[in-house]
Amino acid sequence: MTNREAEWSALLIAAMEGDGRAYARFLGLVTPVLRGIVRARGRVLGPEGQEDVVQEVLIAIHTKRHTWDRSAPLLPWLHAVTRHKVVDAFRRRGGSVHLPIEDFAEALEAEAEPDAMAARDSAVLIGRLDARSADIVRSVSLHGLSTAEVGARLEMSEGAVRVALHRAIRRMADIAKGTEK
């Protein structure tokens, strides 16, 4: 468990310095654990609904990562963000859930199970972006293009693509929290 704290915080620190690969690895490690938490607590949502919640939590981790105080341990921060978003997501879906915080502590420290959900498609978030943002998001996420390649295709500077991407993700976060329709 201390290993996980050390490993994950090192990855997130690298990510916050701008290392995209470390960030992808960090999120890749966090996701199965999140999925375990969401699956255990939100059976009524069904697999697709659960995966939507997992994605909402990931986006929240992303948009709020600067609120982690690097001099403090990472896992408590991660518990808090996860718990808040999971409760919020379940509440908005009309179910009330009891989520003792200990569950998160244990789940975050337990080994992740291999998961079959990783390949599942959930299209809720992109579907509500405007066409251009959705295009950029799809190009980067589904087709794995770099921001430079997307820029070349759309005749935008790479910087402009980055800004557009950043805004699109923020918009997805707003959609996920239910303040935008």
């Binding site: 990510a15 992808a24 994605q55 709020k64 609120t67 105080d69 408590p76 808090a80 980067v140 921001t147």
Partner: protein, 211 residues
């Protein structure tokens, strides 16, 4: 979108983020409070004989109590910026609140029935409540706007603490202008004004600090 694709997307947006700086936020909001309260005192003027008046305990308490409350509430509000914040230690606010209640009771007991509510008029109450609430609005808006970058797991609570801190700061400044030295008057109406701004903060928090 598949979750793995989402991870790729988020990783493409890994540009360095400015860290959250609670101390800087505190600095900006304190500057806003000082500017608003300072401007008000410049325009309206501090009360006549302020230095002499502050020699009286009941007058000093009128300024000191909101100052102490502001000093306690500010760190509590700023702690709410982080999701893993410890729960606020509400009992920390108890001593000044008890002191205020004690002051009210003392004022009530020493004054004759005619004197107790002698200062209460539509004008004096409106002046006191209206000015404290009005002067609080801008600094509170600044604080709530700054707190949007944070991630409070209890938005209403975070907003309420922000309102409490700002209102107490403004009340401290306002008390240097105010000539109502009867604790029965000022504990009641300062208290109500602070409560109103606290509730306003909670409402704003619920609206703007969700994430």
């Amino acid at each position: 979108m598949k979750t793995d694709d989402l991870i790729g997307l988020l990783a493409a947006d890994a540009a360095p983020q400015a860290p959250l700086r609670p101390v800087r936020i505190a600095g900006v909001v304190l500057a806003a409070i000082l500017a608003v309260a300072g401007l008000f005192l410049m325009l309206a003027g501090v009360r006549e004989g302020l230095a002499a008046a502050l020699q009286q305990p009941a007058v000093l308490a009128k300024t000191a109590l909101p100052l102490v409350l502001a000093g306690l509430a500010f760190p509590m509000a700023l702690a709410q910026l982080r999701p893993d914040a410890v729960r606020p230690r509400w009992w920390g606010l108890l001593p000044p609140a008890m002191a205020a209640a004690g002051l009210w009771l003392w004022g009530f007991s020493v004054l004759s029935p005619a004197e107790r509510f002698a200062d209460v008029s539509a004008f004096s109450v409106t002046e006191c409540l209206g000015l404290i609430v009005t002067l609080s609005i801008l600094p509170l808006a600044v604080l709530i706007a700054k707190m949007r970058r944070g991630a409070s797991v209890a938005p209403a609570r975070a907003g309420a603490l922000a309102g409490l801190a700002v209102a107490c700061g403004i009340t401290t400044g306002y008390s240097l202008f105010c000539t109502q030295d009867n604790p029965v008057f000022y504990v009641t109406w300062y208290g109500l004004a602070i409560l109103l701004v606290t509730v306003l903060g909670a409402v704003l928090g619920l609206r703007f600090l969700r994430w």
